[in-house]
Amino acid sequence: MQAYLKLDHIDKTFTRGNATTEVLKDINLTIDKGEYVSIIGHSGCGKSTLLNIVAGLTGATRGGVLLENREVNSPGPDRAVVFQNHSLLPWLTVYENVKLGVDKVFARTKTRAERDAWVMHNLNLVQMAHAKDKRPNEISGGMKQRVGIARALAMEPKVLLLDEPFGALDALTRAHLQDSVMALHQKLGNTILMITHDVDEAVLLSDRIVMMTNGPSARIGEVLEVPLARPRKRLELATNPGYLKCRQRVLEFLYERHRFVEAA
């Protein structure tokens, strides 16, 4: 079977003046349609850079990204990103923020009324329709991130890229949003690539967990299949041996074999 999304021998070096740093080294990864893949690693290992390369916001130094066998090297709505800090435009309302993408993506294929309905449909998916006329600074952090997710979903991306989407949220809100994302994945069957540094989050949400070694020259250290049946329930998993085993594997990788070494 052909891979849906393929990261092919990606290297990334940053050059500043005479100093060259190799951030990513020979990253190979294939993701199937409908799969939920997490990339986990210590901070500074280049996982956000990797996501930016997939999104097309940063170019790879060598290698490339193939989506449905076509190379992608510039940003586009087929790889919508949910940014860590929501990145909603503060001068637009919740509705207008989602509409911005919808108007561009469906300019030709949907009428004005259809686009409006589509925006509301996506706001409903994340339970934010009630706040459609509010501005981002009038809603909570969790709500902002919901709108960010709605904006990305509304572009009907082939791959949904989540860049530490819950990193800036408190633990309770984060759990709530994780459940929402799981439900959306269940319902819509999106292909999702998520960056995270939270082990529980990775095990709970993913079909596969990609563990990155520490930078510089970060590689994929190990890929772990998470063989847990869906739909998954947070409370039931807490005592599930399969869950605990996966969690153990990731923790061992991160804290024993690839401990984060603070630069002196």
């Binding site: 097309g56 916001l57 940003p75 001068w91 561009k104 501005r135 600074n137």
Partner: protein, 298 residues
């Protein structure tokens, strides 16, 4: 205007001590009137102190200048001398013998032309300099030198170029107010968060959409800082420029009054110049507040 405000204050100053416990004990009985009293009190707090200061200054001025042989007229004489100008600003006896309304509107018109051109050119150049590193490297040093040239130093040059007072005055307004607009716009554009650029890239906005939907709103607070400095500078420059070019305008009115030793008329004109400068500044500030509703908070 001022009398009722003073009255309210007199009433207010007596009230607070007595009414404070009443407010806490009967909050539901008269919420509406309490609200009005609170609003009136807030207004009084803002309006009354400057009124008192102005009144005191007028008294001091009157006392100093009422003696015989004083060089400047006291406020009472300023008022009696300029009575006609105050009460009939619309007369027109031909030439430059017109009411103050006509002088002020001529000056405002010049400012409107010069400032509008400066706003358009300033925002356009500022966007260019903010967006392109090469444009910044090439143009920024030039701007930094040119902006320090005093407005009036441009006047002889522009008179030589345009051979007419009217466009020269407009040019001086333009060249005075354009620099802060350029520089602040450029800073605003440069400070657009990378996140917004990323969003625009993912959504694939074209350059025009990026300009109108991201750049303008994101940089608006900075732009309006520049626009506000610009309007102040252009009002400063117009009076000086008009003194030199002559014709109808508040600047030449002041110069003409000086030549005919009508000191009271000068004082009245200065009063109007100050008030209008203040109103212009408030106008731009108000516009900024409306336009940057969403962005200013972040």
């Amino acid at each position: 205007m001022s009398m009722p405000a003073v009255k309210t204050d007199a009433a207010m100053t007596a009230l607070p001590v007595a009414s404070a416990p009443v407010v806490t004990m009967t909050p539901k009985r008269a919420p509406q009137s309490e609200k009005y009293i609170k609003m009136a009190r807030e207004a009084a707090v803002r309006v009354v102190p400057p009124l008192i200061v102005v009144a005191l200054l007028l008294v001091v001025w009157e006392l100093i200048c009422r003696r015989a042989g004083s060089a400047l007229p006291p406020p009472s004489r300023v008022f009696s001398d300029t009575r006609e100008l105050i009460f009939d600003p619309f007369f027109d006896h031909g030439g430059i013998d017109k009411g103050l309304f006509w002088h002020l509107s001529a000056s405002l018109q010049r400012v409107a032309y010069g400032y509008s051109i400066a706003a358009i050119v300033g925002i356009a150049l500022g966007t260019l300099v903010g967006q392109s590193v090469w444009a910044m490297r090439g143009l920024d040093p030039l701007f930094q030198v040119l902006r320090t040239i005093p407005p009036l130093a441009w006047l002889p040059l522009s008179l030589a170029a345009f051979r007419d007072g009217h466009p020269s005055a407009i040019f001086v307004i333009f060249i005075t107010s354009v620099w802060p607009i350029i520089i602040n716009t450029a800073v605003g554009i440069r400070n657009i968060p990378q996140d917004y650029r990323n969003v625009a890239a993912v959504v694939q906005l074209n350059p025009l959409e990026f300009f109108t939907k991201i750049m303008i709103p994101a940089a608006a607070p900075y732009m309006f800082t520049g626009l506000r400095i610009g309007i102040g500078l252009s009002w400063l420059a117009i009076v000086a420029a008009e003194m030199l070019i002559g014709g109808v305008g508040i600047g030449f009115f002041i110069w003409d009054a000086w030549n005919s030793s009508h000191i009271s008329e000068i004082i009245l004109a200065l009063f109007y110049v100050g008030i209008i400068g203040f109103v212009l500044d408030r106008l731009i500030a108000g516009l900024a507040k409306i336009v940057t509703r969403g962005t200013a908070v972040n």
